[in-house]
């Protein structure tokens, strides 16, 4: 059973005069850490939202953990972890309280909640800030609370939209270790615009442009796609720009 199976997925955003942010996309992902790369406006966030079941696909089929996503979302959602790109939170909540609230919303059994909250805060290195109010945290810490609430229910599918924004270099290294651990048990999909994060943390790369998958393979395959003539500071960046520019015909 695949964790994520999408076929011919179309997601229209922006109402009647909108556009297809995801356009005929096919994707199969199992356990491991998958990096979702692509230029701005390629449909990464819409795709992640659709996989998180908060955006309804316009057409095509989508299955999560072997269940077609349609009517009854609750069983699937209990096994999902989701960090949106704009992680909003309640300023007056304490860190522990916020993660406990999210665990309750995810319908975790109440006797398991305190332990799960403590261990997820420990995993993101915020155990000592658990009783601080959310509004007292720095941007990087808020992002880490976002990761903690996503993993509190030990999800089988973990969707992280730009999780490394606001993290300093040391925190990003720690984050990569954490996702590598998580990827052993579950299917982790990380949307990012930082090509080097993908090179370091992911077992698999999915490249999207204009709403569909243009490449799926290992980071090494992505490196091989590039030649020294392509734009980029590292081999993997050259591979990325080789695959993107051949499609859209320009670096911007």
């Amino acid at each position: 059973m695949r964790a994520i199976e999408a076929d011919n997925l179309v997601v229209r955003v922006g109402g009647r005069r909108g556009r297809n942010a995801v356009n005929g996309l096919g994707l199969r992902l199992s356990r491991g850490v998958h990096g979702l790369l692509g230029p701005n406006g390629a449909g990464k966030t819409t795709l992640i939202r659709t996989l998180a079941t908060v955006q309804r696909p316009t057409s095509g089929s989508l299955s999560l953990l072997g269940q077609p996503v349609g009517g009854g979302l609750r069983p699937v959602r209990r096994r999902l972890g989701y960090l949106p790109q704009h992680f909003g939170f309640y300023k007056r909540f304490k860190v522990r309280e916020f993660v406990e609230y999210m665990a309750w919303l995810k319908e975790m059994p109440s006797r398991r909640i305190p332990g799960a909250v403590a261990s997820s805060l420990e995993r993101v290195g915020l155990a000592d800030r658990a009783d601080d109010p959310m509004k007292a945290l720095s941007g990087g810490m808020v992002r880490r609370v976002g990761i903690a609430q996503a993993i509190v229910n030990t999800p089988d599918v973990l969707l992280l939209d730009e999780p490394t924004v606001g993290l300093d270099p040391a925190q990003r290294l720690r984050f990569r270790e954490l996702v590598a651990e998580l990827g052993e048990q579950s299917c982790v999909l990380i949307s990012t615009h930082l090509v080097e994060d993908v090179a370091a943390a992911c077992t698999d790369v999915v490249l999207v442009a204009e709403g569909s998958v243009v490449f799926q393979g290992t980071p090494a395959d992505l490196v091989n796609a590039g030649t020294p003539e392509h734009v980029g500071d590292s081999p993997i960046e050259r591979g990325y720009s080789a695959l993107i520019t051949t499609r859209s015909g320009g670096a911007w």
């Binding site: 939202r49 959602r77 999902l80 992680f87 939170f89 522990r96 609230y101 999210m102 919303l105 319908e107």
Partner: protein, 261 residues
């Protein structure tokens, strides 16, 4: 239990509380001591170590958590709605004050009656609107999103609005029967219309409709609006029922982002 016990030197350093012990060594010593009674005995003569440990252990096993009352509160009230609910209480008090001051003197129009249906609309909008709830996207993606949470949060809003209005009714002498049904119908109406056009827009539309059709004329012409007549009870009941049907049929809307524009 590990066979590698810390050396005398590192135990001594740990005991002295040296602050130049490398973090990994410190953690290793500490976690070893948690599990190894003989080493704890090396640290301090036995009766002391055992006594201290006996007092410490229960504290280590207890995971801190937020107070029960706070947890129960969050289960019903939307965390984003608190300031708006406070405002609902204030508006109720202001309406009572206006009535008592007799701004509508000589006529039977009560300000309490005129604002009654709008108060829950405000509360419902605050509980479900994307614009007012910062964690909206997170909450929508959870299994509890949807009808169960909608009913909890709406019940919480009504638990503030209805007692407040009852009290206001007692003070100003406005009958229960006059305001309760319009109040409930507007609550459900906001949710029902919200599943179609978004909660914020629904709240604005209903407020505008109420202001023009019902609250406006009496304020201008000083008489109890036709729609608040008890003879119209069946109409309000029908609207309430229709609203409930729409909410149940369109329940999936509360689990998606599109509804809550």
């Amino acid at each position: 239990m590990t066979a590698h016990h810390p050396t005398d030197q590192s135990l001594r350093r740990y005991e002295r509380g040296d602050d130049d012990i490398p973090a990994d060594e410190l953690w290793a010593v500490e976690s070893h001591l948690e599990n190894c009674a003989p080493c704890r005995a090396r640290l301090v003569p036995d009766p002391v170590a055992t006594a201290v440990w006996a007092e410490l252990q229960p504290a280590l096993d207890r995971t801190p958590q937020m107070p029960r009352a706070r947890r129960r509160w969050n289960g019903w009230f939307s965390p984003a709605a608190a300031p708006w609910l406070a405002m609902v209480v204030l508006v109720t008090a202001a309406a009572v004050a206006l009535d008592r001051l007799g701004l509508m003197a000589g006529e039977r129009v009560s300000v309490v009656l005129l604002v009654a249906p709008l108060l829950p609309v405000l509360g419902v909008a605050a509980s479900w609107s994307r614009a007012l709830d910062p964690a909206h996207e997170l909450v929508s993606a959870t299994p509890r999103a949807g009808l169960p949470l909608v009913f909890r949060r709406t019940a919480a809003v009504l638990a503030v609005v209805v007692p407040g209005l009852s009290l206001a009714g007692l003070v100003t002498g406005v009958g229960f029967t006059l305001w309760l049904l319009p109040c409930l119908a507007f609550t459900v109406g906001t949710l029902a219309l919200g599943t179609l056009v978004g909660i914020t827009r629904a709240a604005l539309a209903l407020t505008a409709a109420w202001a023009t059709a019902i609250a406006g004329p009496p304020l201008l012409f000083q008489r109890t609006p036709l729609l608040l007549d008890t003879a119209l009870t069946p109409l309000w009941l029908a609207l309430l029922a229709a609203g409930l049907v729409v909410v149940v049929l369109r329940r999936m809307a509360f689990t998606r982002l599109e509804t809550n524009l």
